[in-house]
Amino acid sequence: MRSKFKWIFSLLLALSMQFVFAQEKTVTGVVIDKSGIPLPGVNVVIKGTSNGVQTDFDGKFSLKSKEGDNVVFSFIGYKSKSLQINKSNNYNVTLESDAVQMEELVVIGYGTQKKREVTGAISKVSGKDIANIVTPSFEGALAGRATGVQITTANGIVGQAPRIRIRGIASISSGTYPLVVVDGMAITTGDVGGIANTNALADINPADIESMEILKDGAATAIYGSRAANGVILITTKSGKKGTMKVNFSSSLAVASAVKKYDLLNTADFLVISNEKRTNRGQAPWAVGSAFDTDWQSAVLRDAPQMNHSLSFSGGSEKTKYYLSLGLTDQTGVTLSNDMKRYSVRANIDQDVNKWLSIGTNLSVTRTEYNGLNTGGNSLSGNIFNAIRQLPNTPIYDTTNPTGYNITLPLSTNTVGQGQNTDPVGDNIPNIVYVLNNNKYYSKVNRTLASVFANAKLTSDLTFRVQASADNAITAGFQYLNPIHGDGRSVNGYLLNDNTEYLSWNWQNILNYKKTFAENHNLGLTFVSEYQKTKYQYFFGSGSDLLSTFYNQNLVTNSYATKDSGGSVSENGIISYLGRATYNFKEKYFVQGSIRRDGISKLGLNTRWNNFPGVSAGWTVSKEDFMSSLRNTVSDLKFRASYSQVGNTDIGNYPYLGLTSSSPYGSLNGLGYTQFGNNELEWESSIKTDFGVDLGLFDNRLNLTFDYYKNDIDKLILAVPTSPSLGIPGNTINKNIGKLNNKGYEFSASFKAIATENVNWELSANVTLAKNEVTKLFNGQDILGGGSANVNIAPNIIVREGESINSLYGFQYWGVNKANGNPVYYKADGSLVEGNIATSSYFVFDPNNPGTQGAASSLSASTDRKVLGNTLPTYFGAFSSKFNYKNFDFGFMFRFSGGNKIFNSTRRELVNQNLNNNGTEILGRWQSASSPGDGWTPKLWASGNTFVNLSGNATSRFVEDGDFISLDNVSIGYSLPKLVSEKIKVDNFRIFIQGQNILMITKYRGLDPEMESAGVDINGTPRSKIISMGINVSL
């Protein structure tokens, strides 16, 4: 390849020589950088002419010129240098890297800004920081990389969108997902339809990402006005750079496995425990038979191979820049039946039409295919719900059964075989292995992100950009539920095909003015008008009562007796006008202000439009004269402050209208009242304040950043609970009532510990302290269940004034009465009550006299429950290190978080009192006054879940601290030395081994303290530990 380029260069050289005047002499030389490395491709041009050449691969040039000519050497990333031709015919030129050009630019929304001019709180994560992490979607790798940003993957299902929180939770009823903007366009996020979980962000190939900017404070986000309340993530994809074509290839192979499994009983313990449940209740034993000792959990989990390959070509000429990439990802999940395949293509092209006009496109086409399964926390066929309940003394397979699996006959019973046990398994669960091997859930997403833009340089100070973009996600979903066993049994099999389409288009006109007056006054103005509309369209066809199991790949006409179909459409639009002014004096004093006026279709005529202002200021103290004496120590010191008001538009499409829904009665058409109208509904507003300091010490070897932030969210659109006896649809009205705030401190530090030719060591750390408080609710009314409609979560949480949002709410547990094994709880007044397991009733408990039953009492869900803890971490952060020694590199990142409580509902499931398997915790149960167990686990009582474990409410018995430190990733790489890589004609060749989620240090007794949703851990699929190896090659 290299020889080919040499040939091209020679040709270019020859072409350029044709223009040379005859009387000139030939001057030659070498262009090198500061460290003496030759620079190829440097433009060597005689000033005022178009005569020029480029240096060859050894940095050499040869140019016809005459004495007195000024020759300019220019190269991207370096300061241009000019020299006058004198008598000498040979010139060796050293170019210095261009501090200004190389200065880090930060994408800020409708433009970029030099990092040192930024007055808002923006975290930047470079694409290459996460390039080698094996993750289904880029955002999964963002965890720990920026202050104030929490990203949690709550389970090991490939395809499930991680939870993202930027400076806390900013809404109760409305959306809490940040706005994601890719190359200037706000894209669809979340689940994009189909049957298996999908994640709209996973349609972006992580290898295509140049950088991600996370806009956190008001000043930074105000430019996105109405949609900025939850923060904004700006993603910039790679583009070509002037120069020769670069080819990058990277490939990795990985194996994922469950980080941890539940500690379940083996058959021997299972028999003892199960029968003790019964004998305690005076019933005959129900667990019989020890011929098998089946590990059902391991039967649904597996070691899963994963691979990623990406190939990109980028480069550019004077006028055309391009970036092309191909990606292939194939990831298998740690649970049976779960995987994802992604095929992606991206083409970014930028073309200068003439001196003042350039046009370009960003185009990405992705096909992402997910296979999923039922993971329902209380679904009989939910993979973990089911597996942890299966009886270890029963087998998975049974060759004598017509299905080959251990299933009760007749098959209509729909229950796993009970073996020799006298009773069927608790909750009549099916054989999960049969279910996972037969049912199908898939989603296939075709995603196109396309934009075209034109940049016009109207004058030297004024540029105009117009950009039109479209985001189109079309998802095909399919579900097959086998008619023989499992979820499909009841309806004799089920087939469903569906189609979901999201189409957004966006049009932006951006006018940018930038001018420096009187040398020191730098002014920037930006005006934007933006139009966006999104349409969602969905339909499905389904059939049940199947003709045969043969029909399991698609709906086939007349292969099913019961037919159904349906669909829905919704749309929303937004029109915005915004202006931003930035001014700085001597790059010392900065002021920035922006105002955005947004109109949205989601609100009524009178309240549709609103203004969202933001202001910020900065002062680079280190540039002041009085700091000059300290400059060797304090290389950079800047104070920042900002204030803004932004909004949240994730409020449903028509929240202000009174609506009905089609509500059939049997086969008759019907219409029912389903949404209460409130045409006074207004914008939610979020007032964000931020104070920050950036400090660079010792020539910026040590960089420190500190921010204090406060987000006051007002006029929260709350689905205000109404009295259910009024029968208002959903028992809620959308109202602008409610306030909450998020406050926090963010610290980050990075330190270049060693920077020598052979050794480089960079350390960085960040910590965020965060606090959330709900300050006002409608009439001070608690919202039981928070915003959750999930039956596993809602009973355990509350939104209450003065508390953190979605706090755990339930009974305070005291322990076990050692005299009789009954559970003891606190009442609201601090007194104790004992729950008599035999009669399901409560009595006053006296710890000094545990053997005597006290007076009748109660444990009231109305008055005796209390807040058991906040579910949001109050601190989190990370510590990472990058170390290079010659050709070796070694890096790791530890991440930590805590201060939150988790209701470990899975633990409660694992001590269940039915004929089901249990976790080993149950071995600590109370057996007798002389063998009282762990003092925490009550006496066993067959089928006594609701009382023994209070399965209807949270209790502090299962509430645990969520603090942890985890080794998120560690990697070792080796790059071939230049000498070798040149020999095999590559620029760079690196091999690496990496581990993710390797180590978790925590007292939390569940699988992983991050496997919670709204503070509740319920039957999650284990997250995966991934060991990968791979190569990066660039040509």
Binding site: T562, N572, N953
Partner: protein, 516 residues
């Protein structure tokens, strides 16, 4: 040239802006949903709104975010399942109904919470229907005859739903003299504005007496207004039949008989006890009076539909307590395997609801056998008991199920007293309406009864799958009772008003059932 291109570029942009007009982007209205304001603007929409009221009755919403995602609260499935599981004649085998079965519920338990929530959701739809129809009649969109039919049906549903809620959230009629104890708020205003929310929230619980007065007034209106005669909608006769139930609870024996007599000749008991439960005949048999209808695509679903829970998933068995009751003869047709009973692994399940695939069985709200037994009981309990009439009515229900009626039928000799007769009728109700959700309402009304009192919630067989041996006939079941009785004095006899109601309604928050 350069300027020309610049101008062209600007023109494109301006053109782009023009195409992005405000109407196209901002003035969007729903495509999926008809505005609430338009629901009563055409005869066909009004008819659909009426069906929407039945939708709320049959499906409800439960805790779903989908307005049609409910679990059959109240009249689609829950009234049967909760009514059975509160009583002792069934055994809860899995977790599903355990909180109800073992009385371990509290103000946040979904079963009792959504009984209330979906009940009042239905009542509000009834009230909005009445108001919408009145307005439409005034505007001449429909005739008053058509309008009255709708109003009658809405009042019927409003009455029976309030009545159903009363039996769970309030003490029985005879708990205090004059029934002056607390009932439930009787809602008669369609709430769809803030002003109505504000004024309705101020209304406290009506007394039980007031509730009965309003229920009977609504049922009387329904009787006079409804012209529809189909069995899957409220009808004149359904209102009458329901009045026999209300009067029975009110212990107004004469009116039970007076109302029941109105239906003489209108309905007849089917030849075989299983006939009303043949899915295809649910609405065409002579005995069913009012049942909710379902289709394969509109039903309470796998987590609630009667056939799913009682047959498909077998979450509830018949209890040995009633199965082995000596009044239920071994050769009674109501034990017939494959007709009304299904035996699996020795356990007895009901076969009254059969369509485990499409869940299209009707949910039987009231059938004529109940009217007959209501009248039988009333005849026996009259101040001057009419034991002959009572016995005849009782036998008319029982005899069709007997293998040899000639020898097995009750006679004036075998039931020779008022007490014996009433007790026989009460057992007969348990057998005849087994797995139809009627047990709780009998337990509730018989608290402190003068003849056959029940003290609180009776003791039950342990939850979990009962051993097959427990179903062996020959001796009555005498224990063990793994689920202890809850005495009448215990606060747990009543369901608590849901916590979400207390949180949002200061008026009712001050009126929670005592003890909760």
């Amino acid at each position: 040239m350069k300027n020309l291109i610049k101008i062209l570029l600007f023109s494109v942009v301006v053109f782009g802006m023009n195409s992005c007009t405000e109407e196209k982007i901002l003035e969007l209205s729903p495509i999926n949903n008809i505005s609430e304001k338009d629901a009563f603007t055409t005869p066909s929409l009004i008819e659909s709104s009426m069906n929407g009221v039945y939708n709320a009755a049959g499906i409800g919403q439960f805790n779903s975010t989908n307005p049609n995602g409910g679990r059959g609260y109240v009249w689609g499935a829950a009234f049967v399942e909760q009514g059975d599981c509160r009583g002792e004649d069934v055994v809860n085998t899995a977790t599903f109904y355990q909180l109800t079965y073992t009385a371990t519920y509290d103000p946040t338990t979904a079963n009792n919470v959504y009984y209330w929530v979906d009940g009042y959701r239905l009542i509000n739809r009834c009230n909005l229907m009445i108001e919408g129809v009145n307005e439409a009649v005034a505007k001449g969109i429909i005739t008053s005859t058509v309008g009255n039919d709708y109003i009658g049906q809405a009042k019927f549903l409003r009455a029976i739903t309030h009545f159903e809620l009363l039996s769970y959230f309030a003490r029985p009629y005879n708990f205090t003299a004059g029934a002056s104890h607390l009932g439930i708020p009787y809602r008669e205003v369609g709430v769809n504005s803030q002003a109505e929310i504000d004024s309705e929230t101020l209304k406290p619980r009506n007394t039980v007496a007031e509730c009965y007065t309003k229920i009977l007034a609504d049922l009387n209106d329904a009787e006079s207004l409804i012209t529809s005669t189909v069995k899957f909608k409220g009808s004149k006769n359904a209102a009458i039949a329901f009045k026999t139930r209300v009067y029975l609870h009110k212990r107004d024996w004469a009116n039970v008989i007076a109302e029941g007599s109105k239906l003489n000749g209108k309905y007849a008991l089917t030849t075989n006890p299983g006939d009303p439960f043949v899915t295809a005949n649910n609405f065409s048999n002579t005995e069913s009076i009012f049942s909710l209808q379902f289709s394969a695509t509109s039903n309470p679903g796998v987590n609630a539909a009667l056939a799913s829970m009682y047959k498909g998933r077998r979450l509830v068995t018949i209890s040995p307590i009633i199965w082995r009751n000596s009044s239920w003869l071994a050769d009674d047709k109501r034990r017939e395997e494959g007709v009304l009973v299904e035996t699996v692994a020795g356990r007895k399940y009901t076969n009254k609801y059969k369509d485990v695939t499409n869940f299209t069985d009707a949910s039987p709200v009231i059938r004529y056998a109940e009217v007959v037994l209501n009248m039988a009981e009333a005849q026996a309990r009259l101040a001057t008991p009419n034991l002959v009439a009572s016995l005849t009515l009782l036998n008319s229900v029982r005899n069709r199920s007997l293998a040899v009626p000639a020898t097995q039928a009750y006679t004036a000799v075998t039931l020779n007293s008022q007490l014996a007769l009433v007790q026989a009728i009460l057992v007969e109700r348990r057998i005849e309406f087994l797995m139809e959700g009627r047990r709780w309402s009998d337990i509730q009304r018989l608290q402190n009864d003068d003849l056959a009192p029940i003290n609180g919630i009776p003791a039950k067989v342990s939850n979990g799958a009962p051993a097959a041996a427990l179903f062996t006939l020959g001796t009555p079941y005498t224990g063990p009772y793994g689920v202890a009785a809850v005495p009448s004095s215990d606060f747990k006899v009543l369901w608590p008003i849901p916590q979400i109601e207390l949180n949002t309604n200061p008026t009712l928050a001050a009126q929670q059932n005592p003890g909760w």
